[in-house]
C-alpha cells in the first residue's frame, strides 16, 4: 500500500514529458503508424486530429501501453516505457479515456473512481475520499451513489474523465470526448479540459473529430493522416497547411490546389 502516491513528487517530475519517438505500428502487413514523433508537455493541451483511420487511437494505445510499437520508442521523462504494460503506465501517471465510455456498469459512480484509486495502490477508504473530492471538483457532487449503467451521455463522459483523474496523473489522453455532444456541451468540456491542464498541471492529449473544439483549447496540434504526421504547429499553422487541406478535403478538391 502506498498512499504516498497521492503526493507523488510532481514538482520533481515537472519537466518530464511523454513522447513518441519515430514510432511505427504494423498489424500483419498493414502499417497503422509510421515514424510518428510527438511530445506531450505537462500543463499543456495538445490536439491530435486527422481523418478516420489516420491512426489517432493507435497513437493513444501506444502511449498508454495497450499496443506495443513495432519500431521506435515511447519515452516518459528519461525512461523508455515502450514495453510497459497498460496498468504499469497508468501507475506512472499516464491516464486515458476511451471512445466508448467503458465505465464499470455493475458498480456505482463512486466505485468506478475507487477502482482506479485501488489500482494505484490506495486503500479502499483513501480511494473513496479522493473520489468524492474529485467529483466535487468536477461539479458532479451527489453523483456518487448513482449506478454507472444508464447515466446520461454527458455525465458518462465526465465520470470517465473523473476516473482517469484519480491519483493525479501527469498525463491525460482523451479519445474523442466530445463525440455526439452539442455545441454548448462541447464548450463546457473545453472549459473542463483547460482547468485540468491549468489547475492540476496535467499534460493533456486531446483527440477529436470536432476540429473547432481542438483549435479552441489547444496551443499545439498534430495532424495525422495514413499513420504519418503530416503537420504540426499552432492554430494558424494548421489552418494554413496545404497538407491538412488535402488530407481532409482530398487532393483533387479545388480548395486544396
Amino acid at each position: 500500500m502506498r498512499p504516498a502516491f497521492m503526493s507523488s513528487p510532481r514538482r520533481v517530475l515537472h519537466k518530464m514529458a511523454l513522447a513518441l519517438e519515430q514510432v511505427g505500428v504494423a498489424f500483419g502487413g498493414f502499417q497503422a503508424l509510421g515514424a510518428v514523433s510527438l511530445t506531450v508537455q505537462p500543463g499543456r493541451v495538445m490536439g491530435l486530429i486527422g481523418p478516420n483511420g489516420a491512426g489517432k487511437t493507435t497513437c493513444v494505445n501506444v502511449l498508454t501501453g495497450f499496443q506495443r510499437p513495432t519500431e521506435g520508442r515511447v519515452i516518459l521523462g528519461e525512461r523508455d516505457v515502450s514495453r510497459h504494460s497498460a496498468h504499469a503506465l497508468r501507475r506512472l501517471g499516464v491516464a486515458r479515456t476511451f471512445q466508448a465510455g467503458r465505465l464499470f456498469t455493475g458498480l456505482d459512480v463512486l466505485d468506478n473512481l475507487a477502482v482506479t484509486g485501488v489500482g494505484l495502490g490506495q486503500s479502499r477508504h483513501h480511494a473513496e475520499v479522493e473520489a468524492i473530492r474529485l467529483l466535487d471538483w468536477m461539479g458532479l457532487t451527489g453523483m456518487q451513489s448513482r449506478s454507472a449503467a444508464g447515466l446520461p451521455y454527458t455525465d458518462e463522459r465526465r465520470v470517465a474523465i473523473a476516473r482517469a483523474l484519480m491519483g493525479k496523473p501527469q498525463f491525460l489522453l482523451l479519445d474523442e470526448p466530445a463525440a455526439g455532444m452539442s455545441e454548448p456541451e462541447a464548450a463546457d468540456l473545453a472549459a473542463l479540459i483547460r482547468r485540468i491542464a491549468i489547475e492540476l498541471g496535467v499534460g493533456v492529449l486531446l483527440i477529436e473529430h470536432n476540429v473547432g473544439l481542438v483549435l479552441s483549447v489547444c496551443a499545439h496540434v498534430v495532424v495525422l493522416d495514413g499513420g504519418r504526421v503530416i503537420e504540426a504547429g499552432d492554430r494558424a499553422a494548421i489552418l494554413s497547411s496545404r497538407a491538412v487541406r488535402e488530407a481532409y478535403l482530398g487532393a483533387d478538391h479545388p480548395e486544396a490546389a
Binding site: 498489424f27 500483419g28 487511437t57 494505445n61 495497450f66 499496443q67 476511451f98
Partner: protein, 302 residues
C-alpha cells in the same frame, strides 16, 4: 516400426480430430462448449443395440448392413443434437457462455442416466463388422485392418466436410459464423439454420466417432465418450477457438503426442502419461495463448 507408430498416431489422432471438429463447430456459432458431446457419442453407440438391462447385448440397428447402418447412426446422432439444440440451447441463446456450458453438462447427465436406466450399468459387447479384425501387410508393416479403416474413414469424413464447408451455402455461412457470428448475422446469414446445421453436423460427427470407437473396441459403455470429449475440448482450444482447421490439427497433434509419450516414456513414468500430455497443453497455451491457429485479432479491441 516408425511407420507403425505413424499409423497408431493417425488412428488415435483421427478420432480426436473428428470429435474436436464436432465441438469447434458448435463453439464457433454459439460460444457453447458442449460438454454433452461425449454423451452424444455414447448415445449413438447404444443406438446400435436393443434397449435392455440384460448382460448380453442384442443388436438392433447394429445388425443392419453397413449401407443402411452408417447413414442411420449418423442420422441418430444428428437428430439427437438438433433436438438438444431446439429444446435446450435455443431458449438459452442469450445466456452467458458459463450458463450454456453448465446447461450442456446437465444435458449430458440426463442423457447418461437415461442410458443407464434403459441399458443398465454393465458394459456391453458389440460385434460390429467382425471381419475387420484381421491384420494386413502394408508398406512393410503389419497393420490391423481396423486401423486402416479408421484412418481412411477419418480422412474421408474430413474431406467430405471440407468440401461441404467450402462449396455449399450453409457451409459458407457456417464458416463465416464461426469467424464472427455478429458480423455474419449482419451480412444476412440465417442464424437459426446455421445453428441447427452446426448441431446436426456436430451430432453426425459424434456418431462417426461412435462407429469408429465401436469398430475399434467392440464395447458399449455409458462412460465411453467422456475421455474423448475432454481431449477434443482441449484440442479445440489449443487449435485456437473458432478455427476449424485448428481443431482438426490439434486433435491429430494430441493423438500423436499421446502415442509418442506412450512409446518414449520409461515404464515407471508411463502411468503418468496423461500428466505429461496435459503439462504439454499448458506449456503450449502459455507460449501461444490464442492457440496454434489463432485468428488475427489477438488483443481486445480498444
Amino acid at each position: 516400426m516408425t511407420l507403425q507408430l505413424l499409423f497408431d498416431a493417425l488412428s488415435l489422432g483421427g478420432i480426436y480430430a473428428i470429435a474436436a471438429l464436432g465441438i469447434a463447430l458448435i463453439f464457433g456459432v454459439m460460444k457453447l462448449v458442449n460438454f454433452a458431446h461425449g454423451q452424444f457419442i455414447a448415445f449413438a453407440v447404444f443406438a446400435l443395440i436393443v434397449p435392455s438391462t440384460d448382460a448380453v447385448a442384442v443388436m438392433g440397428l447394429g445388425a443392419a448392413p453397413a449401407l443402411v447402418l452408417v447413414p442411420a447412426i449418423l442420422a441418430v446422432g444428428a437428430g439427437l443434437a438438433v433436438a438438444s439444440e431446439y429444446l435446450v440451447f435455443r431458449p438459452l441463446r442469450n445466456a452467458s457462455p458459463v450458463a450454456l456450458m453448465v446447461a450442456s453438462f446437465a444435458l449430458g447427465v440426463v442423457i447418461q442416466n437415461g442410458l443407464l436406466v434403459a441399458y443398465g450399468g454393465r458394459p456391453k459387447a458389440i460385434s460390429l463388422w467382425p471381419e475387420l479384425g484381421k491384420p494386413v501387410a502394408l508398406l512393410g508393416a503389419e497393420v490391423p485392418m481396423l486401423q486402416i479403416i479408421v484412418i481412411v474413414s477419418v480422412l474421408v469424413v474430413l474431406a467430405l466436410l471440407a468440401v461441404m464447408l467450402k462449396r455449399s451455402r450453409i457451409g459458407l455461412e457456417m464458416r463465416a459464423a464461426a469467424e464472427d457470428f455478429g458480423m455474419a448475422r449482419l451480412l444476412g446469414v440465417r442464424a437459426n439454420a446455421v445453428i441447427a446445421g452446426a448441431f446436426a453436423l456436430s451430432g453426425a460427427l459424434a456418431a462417426t466417432v461412435a462407429l469408429v470407437l465401436v469398430a475399434q473396441t467392440g464395447v458399449a459403455d455409458v462412460r465411453m465418450g467422456g475421455q474423448i470429449m475432454l481431449v477434443a475440448f482441449i484440442a479445440t482450444v489449443v487449435g485456437g477457438m473458432g478455427s476449424l482447421p485448428g481443431a482438426v490439427a490439434a486433435g491429430f497433434a494430441l493423438g500423436a503426442a499421446s502415442v509418442a509419450l506412450q512409446a518414449a516414456l520409461p515404464i515407471e513414468a508411463r502411468p503418468f502419461r496423461d500428466a505429461f500430455l496435459y503439462g504439454l497443453v499448458i506449456l503450449v497455451l502459455l507460449l501461444r495463448p490464442q492457440g496454434l491457429f489463432a485468428a488475427a485479432s489477438a488483443k481486445p479491441r480498444v
